[in-house]
Symmetry: C2
Subunit: 435 residues, 2 copies
């Protein structure tokens, strides 16, 4: 549980610029602030809307042009090469309910400062960059109010139809389109054309902290299968109905939660499983539940393990149907393999870290990120900074100032290199030709 | 599953009066009607309020004076003996979400007709009754919107402080007091003084149907212990957090649901257990739940079994705390023993059934009823009519017209006898002196 004795890096850029970043970070963390030091900024709620207005001002102050696409992704554009596509850099500012201040928001603010720094140094040095630069604040990465998660980047990359996303409703029945319409964040274009993408994020794990490393060079994400599960039983009086007549949807759902955990315990360290969300109908003290809907995830560091876990899960579903006398519908809502980030991007980032003298290591991400969507679209660089004790999706989430500033310097370096054309762009990029 | 070949009784009163009852029953069932033939009339929602207005008119048309007490119990008074206390006869018209048409509502409408019939025959016969008569529609028996259940009768009998009940909030944050204030159903008195109570209800089980009996003479209720359970874990990222670091409140809650079912299976037929309601926080797809609240019931036909089940439950709670790394708080919210209904009331009802030529048997109730509160307050008679297939808290709940009419005749007989003073009243009633 103890943190390593790693020395947190000191600033690598002028202290004024770093001080401004930390001041901005504190201002930003006031939106949706909770009494316990966290934030609650679910997508398109008041604090998320207010924070996006604040970010628009900040980007405009830095001379960027602020635009929105049709799903409400927020971009700050630096156009320096007429007609050229963009290095799109950012993350998301929406949060889980009672979440930490760093998840996503750090990556957007770091992008705003990194793009500004990179553009200004390129200009000061008289460089001839090949690409334009864009900050992005992706809409609804968290998915807690509107499922699925990573919605804005999924629409941007064509993985999710725009109409489907706009029609998604929250538990109160409000659709994404209805929530966004009055905010002014629904644009009339598909957003800037990307040539590359970069994202920095807190690790949300303990790998960097344990090894005493400042920068994680993300080489791949864990494979995942995400299910929406509907358990169908029958309403009955929860007192009077004899036990053997009951078709209890909540019993069926509970057996699935337990089965999911036991599945993870069969593949220690390689498989993570979770049920975080469960809705019970009619959810009354004296009624046997007729319907329970839950979201069940399997994530694995090994695609064969994931396939085997999936097979066992389906066996367990049959056992649960028999035990609780219910029927279970499994709807696969997301699935992805262990797709690597482009190795050339990892090499570019490693070379940048070496130039800056920052300790670094290759790492995999278990959590999904907008960059997971983007890496299937354009070459993408994903960076991590350490999370204290790996705590995340929790108000106690924490990253040291020094690590945030090191990450900012690192992201600036990556943005400059991508902007300069150090990587082949999508158009000419041919992984097969790279050997 | 097949119904017995029992012949459903034909009417025992004039067919016009019975036709009016069945017409009223159909009118009543339109309030909050659902497409599948059930009703949704949770306490103090629009359909419940509209139905109460309809009932007030019906009672006034029958010449009764309609009054409300401080918790919104609705009474229709027939005052024929100045200053005398009342035989209070009724049930509840609120329902579970997507419930059946008979649960509670049948008992209130039967009370309205029975009190009217009894008062008119007494008057026609020139009888000299000793007690006044009152119809009652208890507020919030179901407890689905505002917990606990049986709220109105609990306040009336002094088991629940008025202020506590008025302050209870639904999931949207609306209190009982706030929901009732604009309805005009909050009175300024404690309601009429009761000398006796009678209630008729559908059985919600299969005992009468299986034995081919028309009237159940309820002699006792099953013992029960009801817990509000809070499972405390810690928010974490449901993907990134390693499994052994998780303190998953939803896993803990699910283990408890399974443990409760296994407990019932250890005492077949004698113990019923249930978890019908579960609220998960933050209930997000990618967050390990930090808190789950659920309601867990144990009901037994044997107090020793209940005590043993309770002991095992507490052992299971410790096991769950260790397995899921959570803490579990058990709050006992209700408990009652196998308290008999007053045996003299059962005898009075049996004698009434015999006079009417209705088949009858002694029975116990597993479900709670307002009469369970009332029997600790005044001598109380509880009657059942058959439920087809025992289906209840379900839109498919059904009782035959003939059984409803037989029950109405039976209730009328009981009301007349109680009104005539056939039982010793509370004031002079001394069970010890009865031997």
């Amino acid at each position: 549980m103890t943190s390593s004795a790693r020395e947190v890096p000191s600033s690598t850029e002028g202290s004024d610029a770093d001080t401004r970043f930390l001041e901005d970070f504190r201002s930003m963390s006031a939106f949706g602030a909770t009494p316990s030091g966290g934030v609650d900024r679910q997508a398109a709620t008041e604090p998320d809307i207010a924070q996006r207005r604040w970010l628009a001002e900040l980007l405009e102050e830095k001379g960027m042009r602020v635009v929105y696409d049709r799903i409400g992704n927020q971009f700050g554009l630096v156009e320096r090469v007429p007609g050229a596509p963009y290095v799109v850099v950012g993350s998301h500012m929406d949060s889980q309910p009672t979440a930490g201040r760093f998840d996503g928001a750090y990556g957007v603010l770091a992008a705003a400062h990194a793009v500004d720094r990179a553009a200004r140094s390129d200009e000061a040095e008289g460089a001839s960059p090949e690409y334009n630069l864009a900050v992005v604040n992706w809409f609804n990465e968290e998915g807690s109010r509107f499922a699925p998660s990573m919605m804005g980047s999924a629409v941007y990359t064509g993985k999710l139809p725009l109409e489907t996303a706009l029609a998604v409703r929250d538990r109160a029945g409000v659709s994404v389109g209805e929530a966004l319409a009055p905010t002014g964040f629904l644009g009339e274009t598909d957003g800037p054309e990307a040539a590359f993408c970069a994202e920095i994020h807190i690790e949300q794990g303990r790998v960097l902290e344990r090894s005493g490393t400042t920068i994680g060079l993300v080489e791949a994400c864990w494979a995942a299968r995400k299910y929406r599960v509907v358990v169908n039983g029958e309403q009955a009086h929860s007192g009077a109905t004899v036990m053997e007549d009951r078709r209890d949807a909540l019993l069926g759902a509970s057996l699935l939660v337990v089965a999911a955990r036991e599945l993870a315990d069969r593949f220690p360290g390689v498989l993570h499983t979770a049920v975080g969300s469960m809705d019970v109908y009619p959810n009354s003290p004296v009624v046997v539940a007729s319907k329970v809907e839950l979201l069940l995830d399997l994530r694995a560091d090994d695609e064969e393990v994931l396939a085997e876990a999936d097979r066992i899960l389906r066996e367990q579903v049959i056992r649960v149907e028999e035990t609780a006398k219910v029927s279970v519908d499994l709807h696969l809502s997301h699935a992805w393999g262990i797709d690597p980030y482009q190795p050339e991007g990892v090499s570019l980032a490693r070379s940048g870290a070496e130039r800056l003298g920052l300790s670094h290591q290759r790492i995999r991400t278990v959590a999904g990120h907008d960059s997971v969507n983007m890496k299937g679209h354009v070459p993408t660089v994903m960076l991590f900074v350490p999370s204290v004790e790996g705590i995340s999706h929790n108000e106690g989430e924490y990253t040291e100032d020094g690590d945030m500033l090191a990450g900012l310097a690192m992201l600036t370096e990556v943005v400059r290199r991508l902007g300069a054309g150090e990587l082949p762009s999508t158009g000419v990029y041919d992984p097969a030709a790279q050997g």
